[in-house]
Symmetry: C2
């Protein structure tokens, strides 16, 4: 094995690139029409294949405050989900439970306002549990499985080992670790920083 191949083999078994997710909203097709008068319009692709940042933006309103111009991610889903940080929750007056994406049952609601209408969500506001998207190949190389909880060491400005990091494996994924901005700032994250899975 030459050095470059060896280096790549090590990297593939150990490291994953970190991304920080800002507050954002997922919508159903019907909800998109209510808010915007039409379905979502892709603006730019995200790192996860098929996922995109929409041109459309919404205002998210809670009991104590609101955020304007919140990103909407597509494609549309079966139900709405508002992902915020605990810091965001403080501004909105909402305490989001820390949950894996899609686990919105009995979570707090919020009001969403778009140019064509508004929606009162009864539930759907969560702080996304920190997680690592892996392809089946990456998961195999790293020796982890779907739904496993691992630790992740960050190679960042102020390093942190995060516990309770959820492994998610799918052939539809690209391999990236996702933190919210509380976590990203707590570890001094900059774009391109790497994490290492500790099992």
């Amino acid at each position: 094995m030459d050095t470059q191949t060896l280096a790549q083999a090590v990297i593939d078994r150990v490291f994953v690139e970190i991304e920080a997710s800002g507050r954002h909203v997922h919508l159903s097709a019907e909800q998109a029409v209510t808010l915007f008068g039409h379905g979502l319009t892709p603006k730019r692709p995200l790192s996860q294949p098929g996922q995109y940042l929409a041109q459309e933006r919404v205002t998210v309103i809670g009991p104590k405050g609101q955020f304007e111009n919140v990103a909407v991610l597509g494609p549309e889903r079966k139900e709405a989900q508002v992902e915020i940080s605990l810091t965001d929750g403080k501004s909105l007056g909402i305490v989001p439970p820390v949950r894996p994406s899609g686990h919105v049952k009995a979570s707090p609601g919020a009001t969403l306002v778009g140019p064509c209408g508004q929606i009162q969500l009864e539930e759907g506001v969560i702080a996304a549990q920190r997680h690592i998207h892996l392809t089946p190949q990456s998961a195999r190389l790293m020796g982890v499985r779907d739904q496993q909880i691992v630790k992740m060491q960050t190679y960042t400005d102020r390093p942190v080992i995060f516990s309770d990091v959820l492994i998610r494996v799918s052939p539809d994924f690209a391999s990236y670790a996702h933190l919210d901005y509380d976590e990203a700032n707590a570890c001094g994250f900059s774009r391109g920083d790497l994490g290492r899975i500790l099992t």
Copy 2:
């Protein structure tokens, strides 16, 4: 040794209570007079002996935004220091360096506004490096020394091991670990939560 004494002996050697520090300002006596017309007035004591939250509050202004009603901590110091999180810095348009308290040289400035005047700080805005205040007795029991860099495991809702935690030892201190709100939210901190020093 009875169980309670043993438990206390273990706790004293291993655990430290965590506190989260919100954004706040330290001022010189002269600056307090400029902003408020008089020196700082204690409102309530903080955990560190002799330190207090002042009745007076200031507005902190950066290039992109401002925070009103920011806490001022007393007693007055030799020079001003504005401690914010990286998240706060985003709102203000200031990138604070992560520094130990008192290390403000060549850090960014900000404008402070009080009811009687305003001050343009040339420097002084930092994100306080996470740190643990220890009495000499606690430090001895825990086997750490002043200025040592340690890791700290948090026993919190979403546990984290923080690297680059600065040990500060003084007979004037009470033993507490101090995180900013990015870090506190990243680990799901609640009042009374404990940390464990890893060396």
